[in-house]
Symmetry: C2
Subunit: 236 residues, 2 copies
């Protein structure tokens, strides 16, 4: 098992890039295997569509979840998605590293969730949160903001950081069943002093090692591979 870092920033020398580099370094030094999905570097396509699949459940009407369920049951994912799913499957912890854009993850990372963490592969009806497929695995996000901590506080312009990150933390990471602590946030990273940025990297290194260490002490269950499941809902 290895730790999977899903990294979403177009500029390697960004502070988000420094979080990714730090995570890779300290995890490797601690003896963990590390895999990086570098979404910009690998030119990941975030747009859901028929190109996700080598199989077709319904050629007339494109119902995304139903096509995902069909592909999950018949090894029908495109090479790109199959590769990402293998990375997820072989990881004991998943760490998301991204800049906060418009109050959420960049589109390229949102699309990674939509396409890779497919129905039948990553969740099913009734199999989420405490019954999620990813129970026993660790999850952590490291977010970089342009705005100061005050802007993400009670009474601040954007609402509290818990409010802003709720869909990412609760509807994405926790939804999968990942065992996750509070998000790590490097507030106003572009504006703070070099010393504060170094402090951020030190705190981040601790958080990453703790997440990987906790995950390594548990034995994650293999992801369920259920044949013949199908989405019971219609297209929304």
């Amino acid at each position: 098992m290895s730790v999977l870092i899903v990294y979403a920033h177009p500029e390697p020398s960004s502070f988000t890039g420094a979080l990714k580099d730090t995570a890779v370094r300290v995890l490797t030094q601690a003896g963990h295997d590390v895999e990086v999905s570098d979404l910009y570097g690998e030119q990941f396509n975030p747009v859901a569509g028929r190109h996700d699949f080598t199989t077709v459940a319904n050629p007339q009407r494109f119902h995304y979840q139903a096509e995902q369920a069909h592909a999950s049951a018949s090894h029908g994912f495109s090479a790109e998605l199959a590769r990402e799913q293998r990375r997820v499957e072989h990881s004991s912890a998943v760490i998301l590293v991204f800049p906060l854009w418009w109050g959420g993850v960049p589109a390229i990372l949102k699309g990674w969730f939509e396409r890779v963490l497919a129905y039948g592969f990553a969740y099913e009806d009734g199999m989420r949160y405490e019954t999620g497929f990813f129970r026993g695995r660790g999850g952590l996000m490291g977010a970089v903001t342009g705005g100061t901590r005050e802007r993400f506080s009670e009474g601040g312009a954007y609402g509290t950081i818990a409010q802003v990150l709720w869909p990412t933390q609760h509807c994405m990471i926790e939804y999968l069943g990942l065992d996750t602590p509070e998000p790590f946030v490097a507030y106003a990273a572009p504006r703070v002093s070099p010393r504060q940025r170094e402090e951020y990297l030190r705190q981040w290194a601790d958080r990453v090692l703790h997440c990987a260490g906790t995950a390594a002490r548990q034995l994650p269950e293999p992801l369920r591979a259920k044949a013949g499941t199908s989405a019971t809902t219609w297209s929304s």
Copy 2:
């Protein structure tokens, strides 16, 4: 001025597609000009990058906001983005129509925000919310969920709908200064009765007409075109 509908669903016969069709029909019947950005139909690319620009502020280091600021000051956006910005500029109201995926807008719509609503075009330091460029224009979202209303209620699995939609409503729509009511949500649209779906469409038609009517009674200010502005932050 027209009403801009930004529509994000890969399947025209989906209920999200029906929301879009209904909005176009009732707005046209009421005498409004309507423009549709059909993100899937027009194969909108949601990935931010140097391809956004015909200009280059810094060839060594890609700082997205700084490149946006530079492009805003020198007409440096790609043809695709310039077209979308014209649509936004000529609208008295912007209506987002999308399925709720992983607690938020689909990646293709998230990327539309990131790329089209660029620094210098859609906001600047100190020009957001009550000083936002879009004051006097209307904003409305119509979201379709697979989950039931109960799942988005106090004590429900996903948290309240206000919690889930906070970043979309507050950090995206309100951030721009758009005058916006509560989001419209068609809960569990794929699972409810045909009669309930018709009721959703009736309610939605009212909401759309109200939004457009309110916006039409105000005279939106032209978006500021400020020459020589530049982002004061470094890359996050």
